[in-house]
Symmetry: C2
């Protein structure tokens, strides 16, 4: 074995350590993508495709269902925490141990050791997850080769502390613009105050009761919040403009269009002069009622939790593929200098997935 290859016969923890010692900060994933491709190509049960530094490997067994196991191969910048270090308590330390090379190790172990899964499998290893959304490799593959990602269910092996996090909430950011008319503040009645004009909208926000819908048994928790406000011309001028930025986090039982319509409706009679969508990424259904997901939940055990934040499972959602987060890493330590993973979680996660895919 040379310094540029991966030995898939290593166990999960050892393979994780190997992957961590193979630096792949966002934008510098080529070497690792090459190694993953080289490790998978010899496996006769897999068809391997590549798009940029994104590797897709698929079984083609004609099973009734197909599931995706997905993971990103990049990390945030290294912070004096590579090479990896395994301590006496069974904890592996280093950049990417939790986010998410332990998950990638599990993907590779399943790819190498489950040649005849009970469901057809699609593995995707993608780049640039830790940087701007438009660079994200999963998005690039979805755009260029959506058929590579066609499936009934997807598991994103992002660190979730070994618990299943179902779907994800959508996030919509809107600029509410209020207009007024300038005047000298000594003669305020000559103008119209755009900051005062935000009062009804802010009262609406303060009184807003977010929905907590239960979807596939998971209780989501929406939120509609101001995340910014800016207004004012000079300290002696009645301001003629004020912008209130609101962020709507919504559960996956409504569509992107319904989310925008809801925000419009909330502020319908609040004197908003302009309603500008600044950013919008949709929600993803947990899909736990799907047979593949039910079997998955039985195999991994525990109780699924809703995912409140936005993750790449939403990209599967937009492809019509229900998805969950389930991985060995601990999200609390992602991006931190003291990032680590308990090796028993890596082994446990691999076993649970193997059980689901072979029982």
């Amino acid at each position: 074995m040379d310094g540029h290859s991966l030995d898939l016969a290593l166990d999960g923890p050892a393979l994780t350590a190997r992957l961590v010692d193979f630096p792949s900060v966002s934008g510098q994933e080529k070497e690792l993508a090459d190694a993953i491709e080289a490790a998978l190509r010899p496996l006769p049960h897999l068809t391997v495709d590549r798009h940029g530094n994104n590797i897709v490997a698929r079984t083609n067994l004609g099973r009734a269902e197909r599931v995706v196991l997905a993971g990103h191969i990049d990390t945030v910048p290294i912070a004096d925490n590579v090479p990896s270090r395994l301590d006496d308590d069974g904890v592996l330390w280093g950049c990417g141990t939790s986010d998410m090379k332990s998950g990638v190790a599990v993907q590779l172990r399943i790819a190498a050791t489950v040649p005849e899964p009970n469901r057809d499998l699609t593995f995707i290893f993608y780049d640039n997850e830790e940087v701007a959304a438009h660079l994200n490799g999963l998005g690039h593959v979805a755009e260029a080769h959506p058929e590579w990602l066609a499936a009934d269910f997807a598991v994103l092996l992002e660190g979730s502390n070994g618990e299943v996090e179902g779907g994800c909430q959508g996030t919509l950011r809107v600029h509410l613009r209020f207009k007024g008319e300038r005047a000298h503040s000594a003669r305020g009645w000559m103008g119209s105050n755009a900051i005062h004009a935000t009062a009804p909208a802010l009262a609406r926000l303060a009184a807003y009761e977010p929905r907590r819908p239960v979807i596939d048994g998971l209780e989501y928790h929406e939120g509609l919040n101001a995340v910014g406000i800016e207004g004012g011309v000079a300290t002696n001028v009645i301001p003629d403009a004020c912008t209130l930025v609101v962020n709507y986090r919504y559960a996956p039982d409504i569509t992107a269009e319904e989310a925008e319509a809801h925000v419009q409706e909330v502020f319908a009679d609040c004197g908003v002069d302009e309603f500008v969508v600044d950013d919008h990424t949709g929600a993803a259904m947990p899909g736990l009622s799907h047979p593949a997901a039910k079997a998955f939940m039985e195999a991994v055990g525990g109780v699924a939790r809703p995912k409140f934040g936005w993750t790449d499972v939403s990209r599967f959602g937009s492809l019509g593929v229900p998805a969950v987060n389930y991985g060995p890493g601990d999200p609390l330590f992602a991006h931190k200098r003291d990032e680590h993973v308990r090796v028993e979680r890596i082994t446990h996660c691999e076993e649970r997935l193997r059980s689901w895919l072979t029982s």
Copy 2:
């Protein structure tokens, strides 16, 4: 007559033109101050004092009342509008014609031609009115030699289009600070939104009914306005701080302390975490009920108007001297390239003041 002296035998319009042709942009008033001092010193009925480039001249006739005639000698930067030009319609053009060398010319004419006024007179010619408040010569004299400004009534000859503007409103700027607790906006319920917390204060502002008190026959018009608001950490973070900046313009029947107490009271139950006075300059009473002012109003004629904005009359207010604005300039053209004054207004203003001071 050389290029550095002033001939007080010139009529008001000619003296105004002479003063305009004697550039004195803020910070460069020494030469003009020297010329004013040199012109006044020979007058036997005046005691002349100097503090920096501020000249104070006083009669000492033991009259029952003393009034101040005040004017600043600086101008905003020249904008290709010097030397002055008198057109065929009796309009004098140039930097400072309106703001306020026509007023200074009237002061000088009264000083030179009314040796035995019916009220003791104090003339002050001061520098740096057009720049930062802490440079203002009237303020420097008030601080160093308050006794030079002791009087029963003051007329500031700032351009007021020949109308009397009584007193001035005070202006108080307050930062209302609201605090919250940060959280990821996907889990907004974990935090406390400081922007939402401003809703009651903004509703209070939007509903605020300003007072319009009548003082000495003048109807003032207060105002309480937001002039700035800022809050927000990042587009995915519940903000933990928001600052609302409000400006209270208040009539001169309340003190500075009462003004601050009023703003505190307006927002008393609005969840303000910190109340910080950012800037405060007091109001000035019109003092039109004072005998000297009544005689002044009878002499100048017309109906006094309230002054909504803040001017140097407030400095007299803080010295306990009721004050009005009354000058020949047109404030609408102050600081403009096409600044001008109707020469008949200069003559009229001088005549009215002479009438008041000699009848």
